[in-house]
């Protein structure tokens, strides 16, 4: 059976400097892959290449369930959810307005209401508070809440643990378990030593754009 996502020969250069070199790995259905590496190891570049925010420089192959996967195609963009370094929130809008916008904008419905999702990420009571009044960790929680509003088979999460306290880290793990239980998969990055409390997961260590090691 084909893996959920298969990546082969992924290479990226910036100003002649190699950022990623010949990366090759796969992601199984209902699995979490954690890309670990220090700052500048190429984690964010990898995530942006996978979701199409950076252009392909050289031919590399990404396939999903054996079919070519191209995030530049609108059809394939409906298959994943990307959460980047920035939270993607409008600080002038309330928590509820931010989520309602995303729910209407994304079109894909998970069946959960914005209010329910806010409760799940521990922000009940903040629905009418402007996002500007939230702490950095609460803003991260609000950004994570968007994951629950849509049903996407693949989550691409860039540093989801950043700015979060222990409860927040547990929340991320809870979200990961939710995604796996619904048959989805996750590729996430971390520069720290956090390991998701979720099984099954694999850790790929990235160093200067090369895969240094893989651990189960």
């Amino acid at each position: 059976m084909s893996p959920m996502l298969n990546i082969q020969s992924l290479t990226f250069h910036r100003d002649q400097l190699p950022i990623l070199e010949q990366l090759q790995f796969s992601l199984e259905t209902a699995e979490v892959v954690l890309i670990q590496g220090h700052n500048g190891s190429g984690k964010t570049t990898l995530m942006k290449l996978l979701c199409g925010l950076l252009p392909r420089q050289e031919d590399f192959v990404v396939s999903m369930h054996g079919q070519p996967f191209d995030p530049n195609q609108t059809r394939d963009r409906a298959l994943f959810h990307y959460l980047g370094h920035q939270n993607g929130l409008k600080l002038e809008l309330t928590c509820l307005e931010n989520l309602r916008f995303y729910q209407q904008f994304s079109g894909s419905q998970s069946g959960q209401s914005c209010q329910q999702v806010l409760e799940q990420v521990g922000l009940d009571g903040y629905q009418f508070s402007p996002a500007s009044q939230l702490s950095a960790g609460q803003k991260k929680r609000l950004a994570l809440a968007r994951l629950l509003l849509t049903s996407r088979t693949l989550w691409l999460l860039d540093e989801p643990y950043s700015n979060l306290d222990l409860d927040g880290i547990a929340l991320v793990d809870q979200l990961l378990r939710h995604q796996i239980s619904t048959g989805g998969s996750v590729i996430m990055t971390s520069h720290g030593s956090f390991v998701p409390d979720v099984l099954p997961h694999r850790i790929i260590r990235l160093n200067h754009g090369r895969i240094e090691g893989v651990a189960q």
Binding site: P55, R75, L91, S106
Partner: protein, 226 residues
């Protein structure tokens, strides 16, 4: 158009309108800028009614152009900073259509307001009452083009950080045709000449912008983001 696309466009338009209303200071800035520039001319060249009438078409349009340029940062720069631009680029909906919704919101919060404020400027420059509708029509048809051209510039410079001066240098020359046809239309109306030719040229530029600019902006955004 499918309904998820319309829902996404509506959500984007409504959100940007709501943001515009929440940031009232920013909403008022282009209008205040417009009035300020237009009021500088009578102060510097005197209050001769004939002279003011003669320069009015050019002054109103240059003021509108500068006021519109001032607010261009609202289109994509802030979305780039807070990460919401990534949501646009990764949406399963066609980027050109989403861009159209954003430019429409920008126009309503700047160009339309400038158009609605223009009778005050026209009266200040002592233009005859029957010229005021011509001024408003020229702005109604020309300011959307300014929003489209400006959005192309912002999209190309969005990743540059301090692209303000570069943006102005890039955008202003592209707006010259609109400036010429729009101010000529007002001048022709004041001279009792037919305005249909100017009107049709403005309409042609507007239709061209409406149909081509969203695709150019979408491509420019992808280039700017990478």
């Amino acid at each position: 158009m499918s309904s998820p696309l319309i829902a996404a466009m509506t959500a984007l338009f409504n959100r940007d309108m709501r943001l515009g209303i929440r940031n009232r200071g920013e909403l008022a800035s282009p209008l205040l800028f417009l009035v300020l520039i237009a009021s500088l001319f009578p102060l510097s060249i005197g209050r001769d009614p004939a002279l003011l009438q003669q320069i009015a078409p050019g002054v109103i349009w240059v003021s509108a152009l500068l006021a519109s340029t001032l607010s261009l940062g609202q289109v994509f720069s802030r979305d780039y900073d807070d990460g919401t631009l990534e949501q646009l680029l990764l949406s399963p909906q066609p980027l050109a259509a989403l861009v159209l919704a954003k430019v429409a919101a920008h126009w309503v919060t700047t160009g339309l307001l400038i158009t609605l404020a223009s009778p005050l400027l026209a009266l200040g420059y002592q233009l005859p009452a029957d010229i005021i509708p011509v001024v408003m029509i020229s702005l109604l048809m020309g300011t959307p083009v300014l929003s489209f051209i400006g959005a192309i510039g912002v999209a190309l410079t969005v990743g540059l950080g301090r692209g303000g001066m570069f943006l102005t240098l890039m955008v202003l020359p592209l707006t010259v045709p609109v400036l010429i046809f729009a101010s000529s239309m007002i001048a022709a109306a004041m001279g009792g000449q037919p305005i249909e030719g100017h009107l049709l040229m403005l309409a042609a530029i507007l239709v061209l912008s409406l149909t081509l600019a969203p695709f150019v902006i979408a491509t420019a955004l992808k280039i700017g983001m990478s």
